[in-house]
């Protein structure tokens, strides 16, 4: 039996005296598309920040492919094959689309900190970057500065930067936040396309996206996971309906 792609064991996080994430246990197996849902302030983004080492955990253990990564720094985790996107677009604003993507895959191609190689002569980096740009649909904007892209384009680039390095575990933090209906549909298609063969964990508010994409869903309420299961199981779970879906039905 192989280890799960991602495993959280009793992970907790407090800021001061406030506990945001409490004893979370989670297993995501390889190739699975896993969604984490929950009301605002449930600690979903915090959980992502813990996994990706943006914040240190207060207690508990995080494993990536069976290795303990709890005390590693963000770049070390990234080098081991976990990559993440951000809810608030977090790209390199004064670089072109092409350079954003190319920077994101330099490490994985082994170019590291080299200052003796000519960047434009690195054919593999250029080709892979162009492939990614093609896949995220920004080919026409290849040489545009990231800061001048539209919001939806920046979100696509955000996903491109996240995936370029070829990480096999990908965390997407609200990939469709702030998008219109049609933009959301395009984004879902994009995520489906690019996450082929990868382990995907996403935080998402749009239930259409969640139930359309996810193989399994975890529900986070007040920092605790109250249920994990297939979309059908989650829909049928009375505790979830009570805590979460019940409130959203009123909106629908």
């Amino acid at each position: 039996m192989t280890a799960p792609a991602l495993r959280l064991v009793d992970v907790s996080k407090s800021f001061g005296r406030t506990e945001i994430v409490r004893d979370v246990n989670l297993e995501v197996s390889r190739g699975e598309r896993h969604a984490i849902i929950g009301p605002n302030g449930a600690g979903k983004s915090t959980l992502f920040n813990l996994i990706s080492a943006r914040f240190p955990v207060s207690s508990g253990r995080i494993e990536l492919n069976g290795d303990d990564i709890t005390s590693l720094r963000a770049f070390e985790i990234n080098r081991r094959g976990l990559s993440r996107s951000f809810q608030i677009t977090n790209i390199f604003h004064n670089l072109t689309v092409f350079d954003n993507v190319r920077c994101a895959l330099l490490w994985s191609l082994g170019y590291r900190y080299s200052f003796w190689r000519r960047l434009s002569a690195l054919a593999d980096a250029g080709e892979r970057a162009d492939e990614v740009i093609q896949r995220i649909g920004l080919r026409r904007r290849r040489d545009t500065l990231a800061s001048t892209l539209s919001y939806a384009e920046q979100r696509a680039l955000e996903i491109g930067v996240t995936l370029a390095g070829g990480a096999d575990v990908v965390l997407l933090d609200e990939p469709t936040a702030g998008m219109s209906r049609s933009e959301t549909e395009e984004a879902v298609a994009l995520i489906r396309r690019v996450s082929e063969g990868k382990t995907l964990v996403m935080v998402e508010h749009d239930m259409g996206v969640v139930f359309g994409l996810a193989d399994r869903i975890s529900v986070l309420v007040y920092g605790r996971i109250i249920a994990t299961g297939t979309p059908a199981e989650i829909r049928a779970n009375p505790a979830v309906q009570e805590a979460y879906l019940g409130t959203s039905r009123a909106h629908a």
Partner: protein, 419 residues
């Protein structure tokens, strides 16, 4: 996909032109003044570009960059002294490299401390480290030469083919060629994986971590490499003047390089080259005209920070773009209109500064300009000056709007043509 060729026609033209310019410039005038100006510009170009590897490329504002320049100069001087005493056999031609290695070593030592933090804290720490090195240098007079500085003689033996580096023209060519090599190297460096990742760290250090890079390592490497080039610049200074004082690593020198890079423009690779040229020319030209030249420097710097934060380079690039689109001509009337109030304010400020300076220095407040006598001890003078400045400011506010409207219009046409 084949990688693009290293030497394109455009690049050959650009770099060939630059090389030709620095090689032919000494032929324009035979005066020693011209040659020493050119030497100084070439040295400052390297120094300012090395500073911009930090500010422009990595987003690190250093207030202590002169440390590497000054230490590089001192170490080169020690090497020169050793060569003179026949302790080590290094050809004078290669001595700037010794300065560069010195800068590199100190980059490793000091960079380890300074690059632990970024942003404003880095600025603060770089200042502190700079002060520390400057203060320490005086504690070790054997190394720094104390108050008098270090000096030696660059002419050693007969030299090859008559190249002894005795005449200024020979040392100029040594400086110019080293300078050109450094400029090419720094340009190349900006286009390597490290160079581009430095840009990424400048834009968004947090995200850089999430694509596998340790921003601290990136900053450290850039400081070390910038230290190398600053050290080479220091080495060239040592050979040029044959004397190095501790002022070369002082806060004043660090400040000067900030001004050069920023006035020139930190957003473009060639910006600091323009800045080094402009500031050095001003330094040598204006300082012979007025004792208040540092005041004008400060004022120029503030005006650039507030009104043209992209520096001369971005003004040039913008207008070149408009010129290519054929809309630059439309801006001419607005610019001409703006010239009057600018002159008015400028003249007013200069009149105040110059007369006040004379009043304090010589107790005679009279200043003769173009046949007029300005007398700061009379009330009428002050009324006139204050009125000129106030009127100029008022007009400037009005005209500024016209100019910016015209520019917006020009840019709008530019955008339309592009799509």
């Amino acid at each position: 996909m084949k990688p693009p060729p290293l030497l394109t026609a455009r690049r050959l033209l650009m770099w060939g032109g630059y090389l030709a310019l620095i090689l032919l410039a000494p032929l324009l005038s035979r005066s020693g003044y011209w040659l020493s100006l050119l030497s100084q510009v070439a040295i400052m170009t390297v120094f300012a570009l090395s500073f911009n590897m930090l500010l422009g490329q990595t987003g690190l504002l250093s207030f202590g960059h002169a440390v590497y320049y000054g230490l590089g100069a001192m170490i080169t001087m020690h090497a020169l002294i050793a060569v003179n005493q026949q302790v080590v056999p290094i050809p004078v031609t290669l001595l700037p490299l010794v300065g560069g290695l010195g800068g590199l070593v100190f980059g490793v030592l000091l960079g380890y401390v300074t690059t632990r933090r970024a942003g404003t804290t880095f600025a603060m720490i770089s200042l502190g480290i700079g002060e520390m090195v400057a203060a320490s240098s005086l504690m070790f007079p054997a190394f720094s030469g104390g108050e008098g500085g270090l000096s030696s003689n660059r002419v050693i033996g007969k030299g090859w083919f008559g190249i002894t580096y005795g005449p200024q023209i020979q040392i100029y060519y040594l400086i110019a060629l080293w300078g050109f090599a450094c400029v090419v190297a720094m340009y190349a460096l900006a286009h390597t994986p490290l160079g581009r990742i430095a840009n990424a760290v400048r834009d968004n250090p947090e995200r850089a971590e999430f694509i596998g890079y340790n921003p601290q390592v990136v900053r450290f490497l850039m400081v070390v490499l910038a230290g190398f080039f600053a050290g080479v610049a220091g080495g060239l200074t040592a050979l040029n003047y044959e004397i190095v004082t501790s002022e070369s690593l002082h806060a004043y020198t660090s400040g000067l390089v900030i001004m050069m890079a920023f006035v020139g423009g930190v957003g473009y690779f060639f910006g600091p080259i323009l800045g080094a040229l402009l500031i050095t020319v001003l330094q040598m030209a204006v300082s012979s005209l007025t004792a208040a030249w540092l005041f004008y420097f400060g004022l120029l710097f503030l005006v650039v920070v507030l009104y043209a934060p992209g520096g001369v380079a971005s003004v040039v690039v913008e207008h070149r773009r408009l010129w290519h689109a054929g809309v630059l001509g439309r801006l001419a009337p607005a610019y001409l209109l703006a010239a009057l109030p600018v002159l008015l304010v400028g003249a007013g400020v200069v009149a105040v500064v110059e007369t006040v300076y004379r009043l304090m220095k010589e107790d005679s407040a009279r200043l003769r300009v173009l046949g007029f006598t300005l007398d700061a001890s009379r009330g009428l003078f002050w009324v006139a000056v204050v009125a000129a400045i106030a009127l100029g400011m008022l007009l400037l506010r009005k005209v500024a709007r016209t100019v910016s409207d015209e520019r917006h219009r020009a840019y709008a046409t530019l955008r339309q043509e592009r799509t």
